[in-house]
Symmetry: C2
Subunit: 530 residues, 2 copies
């Protein structure tokens, strides 16, 4: 059963080992265990829904609670403290584009707002019902999960857009194909969600971001269907796919998507390299990506993330061996861990691996084989469960990410971390911050920072701290010159910062676009701040 | 001096050898030499401009004629026959974004229409002044040709958008970089033109289309500036760059563009392979691109294009040797020529070359070394001059291109060629058609067809024939399921077919976008049909 107030399946537990707990206690302080609100108590206090009955709609209170929150820290706080200020009035389950159209039409008659829902994994408030007097319907798309067509010749697969990562890959695997889109939320997040939030998978270096994988599809807008045909490329005017990508449910409901797939790779390996300093490691990674080696992933942790990962990993003997090995080779004390992947044909992978090792050595990197990479791969969708465990130990975890050109990357990382530390210091609290580059490009890199800090006693205290930190960090991202999101999207949490990069005319353009396709505001979830 | 009524510099002449001329005479008939209108006669007959004097504006008649036509066949016919129905009223030369803003403001006071002009290489009527009572200003951007900034760390170069291909590459080469964008129009076409028409270069397989190269820039719209920041990637809402790409001058004037550049490659080679049949050749090319080999170009000619190229090349002894060599290896009679490029680091190129040769042999291909590839490279921007020579011999040449998914590629090629033959047969004329795949993708391919047919005696006869052929071919593209343009854009010639792929809602969306950024229609050139 999926957790209603945390990440993932409730039979899966992540363990925080003693050394890791001590490490956190030293860095941010001791905590007390929380006493969370119970689901029963929450559902019993819900106000009644404000919609007439309709065969497509469920007004079950548990369904309403589950539909109204994502995985942002404010959403967690609301659920854990039972601070349920707003929930949707009803949940509709669509099985087809026709169902979607029916729900949109019903919403129109009721002046209701429709929020598309599938994986429920948003970390930026996409699913939070807006402040409004209008009734709100959560449109659940998870039953729309079938592979509709596979064109082997063009390597195109058409799916219903509600299909979740594991189901999508399983259906493709049965035919010998993969999409290769693996965001950390893969266990629950869905194809449609990836598209409308411009998601990026861990191996985007090989497979591309979802923008490159999305070939066409069908959007049901309140003013009618928008069909996006699949062409390999086109110069016929502005690309309408690019309006659907990033539309975050504001323009309509994506019901069908055709994506570019590839045959399952013959070889896939993840290798680890340790660097004695960030400067050397960053230069090496930039060199690897700018030489356009056919690697499938480059993921570089800074000093504190490397230390944190090794501490959390909980294999003291293995780590001691590693420290000894690296120490003999001149890497003592703080170090940076690079994981890189090779995926594809054997010969290409071997050649890429050889070249990658040569390059990292030029910058002081020490390759240590596949052990760490294999562990990372085994836990790639498990590590997100740690957030539950941290909470149970009295710690909040949150993340922020951006992307910027190379000259700004180190400054961005240092200043984002510092901004969070400074923001929580104002509350007399410490925050443990660490960062990695998760997606690198010849032009620059994403910068992904994690924050761990102590839970406070009340919802309001926690929310205020989060808000102060979020604002400080977001403003820093803008000041340094990054995008407000590289992979999580805008939702409501990033909406106040969107105009800094789109500009006044860009924001007006987007507003008009929304107004045109959704004149009655049926899709007005508040996402993108539009 | 640039030709006023044909392609390129008037000191450059292409030669049609006797065998090639006989070949054409056999295929479409004998012709008589044309008697073209003289520039003097044309400029003397021009109506006076309808604008008051302004320091930024020239009303010189030759400048007005030169600014009013591109390289579409209708534009050629107008110039060659002196059938000058519409010309711009004045030409403004901008040297800065400030100049652009000044011209837009002046146009606003005069209710004038502004058409941005740079390379003048459009083959789909982008530059043709619209039918309107409003005065029209051609805004010449060719003086905006400077490299403004080079960020080596991010491999980003910022140019004024009017820079032409050779100037752009020369300025980058001085720093050891290349953009690698080489459309056939490279000699004159400009960065801004590439962006607003979604251009594709011959080596897009390595460098990407202009969509992938365009990182950000500055658009001066009639309602104010739109600044597109450079991020390596972003999930912050719809991507506004994708509205500027393909906007064809309808949203404003691109004054500055930042592009992704790469260090000059160490190695570049073009190799030729002959195939005994189209089916084998197409399968080989699809296999090469789907295996994601690091090639820089794949260009496959069909049987008739191969025959035409060999005949035009005019090296009878070399061709005889080739025929003998191929014949001994079982390739007799009709055959298909594939040119492929390897570009980059030595080791990567060697490995890609080896793999490519292995794959083509699996499909019956016979690699014949670099001779044909080198000749192609030497003439890559010269071959377009042949159109002048054909005209002087009494032949019209025109091209049409599209892109579609792989299952449709052969049908598209055959049916586009047949549609042209059928359309001209109705006039009792034959047309020599041939096709190549110029840009291939894992998903599908572009299909690029050339038509050569006899010139008729009058403008109207030629125009009617062209129109019948253009319509038949465009309708075929839509019926088979291709985009109305893969690389030339929409302009006016393709505008009637745009709604077939954008759909009614898509067209409304684009119209509203234009209306919002250009409420007074200052940029209303008629491009995109909006």
């Amino acid at each position: 059963m999926r957790r209603w107030n945390g990440w993932g399946d409730d039979s899966v537990h992540s363990i925080l080992n003693t050394a890791a707990l001590q490490f956190l206690q030293e860095r941010v302080g001791h905590t007390t265990a929380p006493s969370d609100a119970a689901l029963d108590a929450v559902t019993q206090r819900l106000p009644p829904g404000r919609l007439p009955t309709h065969p497509k709609l469920s007004t079950d209170n548990e369904a309403r609670v589950r539909a109204s929150f994502g995985q942002s820290l404010p959403d967690w706080l609301r659920l854990r403290f039972g601070h349920i200020d707003r929930v949707v009035d009803a949940v509709a389950f669509a099985e087809s584009a026709e169902d979607v159209r029916e729900v949109l039409a019903f919403a129109h008659t009721q002046q209701a707002i429709v929020i598309p829902y599938a994986g429920g994994t948003s970390v930026v408030g996409h699913l939070t019902p807006p402040k409004t007097d209008r009734p709100v319907i959560s449109l659940n798309l998870t039953r729309m999960n079938r592979l509709l067509h596979l064109d082997r010749s063009s390597q195109l697969a058409t799916f219903q857009a509600g299909v979740a990562g594991p189901d999508l890959e399983a259906q493709l695997r049965a035919h010998g194909y993969t999409l290769g889109h693996f965001p950390q939320s893969f266990e629950y997040s869905t194809l449609g969600g990836w598209i409308v939030t411009r998601s990026s998978g861990q191996q985007s270096l090989r497979y591309g971001r979802i923008e490159q994988l999305f070939a066409g599809g069908q959007l049901e807008t309140p003013t009618g269907p928008l069909t996006l045909p699949t062409f390999p490329a086109s110069s016929a005017g502005p690309d309408l796919r690019e309006l659907v990508l990033g539309s975050e449910g504001r323009l309509g409901v994506l019901t069908e998507a055709t994506v570019r797939v590839t045959p399952l790779p013959a070889v896939e390996q993840f290798h680890a390299v340790f660097f004695p300093s960030w400067a050397q490691a960053e230069t090496a990674v930039r060199s690897l990506v700018q030489q356009r080696l056919p690697l499938s992933m480059l993921r570089l942790s800074n000093e504190l993330e490397t230390l944190t990962s090794l501490t959390l990993a909980g294999h003291p003997r293995l780590i001691a061996m590693l420290e000894k090995y690296l120490g003999m080779r001149g890497i003592k004390g703080s170090k940076c861990l690079l994981l890189f992947g090779v995926t594809g044909h054997g010969a290409t992978c071997r050649s890429a691996l050889r070249s990658a090792r040569d390059i990292v050595r030029q910058f002081g990197g020490m390759p240590v084989g596949k052990t760490f990479g294999e562990k990372w791969k085994a836990n790639r969708f498990r590590s997100v469960y740690l957030r539950n465990t941290l909470w149970e130990h009295g710690y909040c975890a949150d993340t922020v990410e951006t992307a910027c050109d190379w000259p700004k990357v180190e400054t961005m990382m240092r200043r984002v971390e510092a901004a969070a530390v400074e923001a929580l210091a104002r509350f007399g609290e410490r925050v443990h911050t660490y960062t990695h580059l998760s997606h690198v490009y010849p032009q620059g890199s994403s910068v992904y920072t994690t924050f761990v800090f102590r839970r406070a006693g009340t919802f309001e205290e926690n929310f205020n701290r989060w808000q102060a930190m979020k604002h400080a960090v977001s403003q820093t991202i803008i000041d340094v010159g990054g995008t407000i999101s590289h992979q999580h999207g805008v939702g409501k949490d990033h909406a106040p910062y969107l105009s800094a990069e789109k500009g006044p005319l860009g924001m007006r353009t987007l507003s008009e676009l929304v107004r045109q396709l959704d004149p009655d505001g049926i899709m007005n979830s508040g996402n993108l701040g539009l």
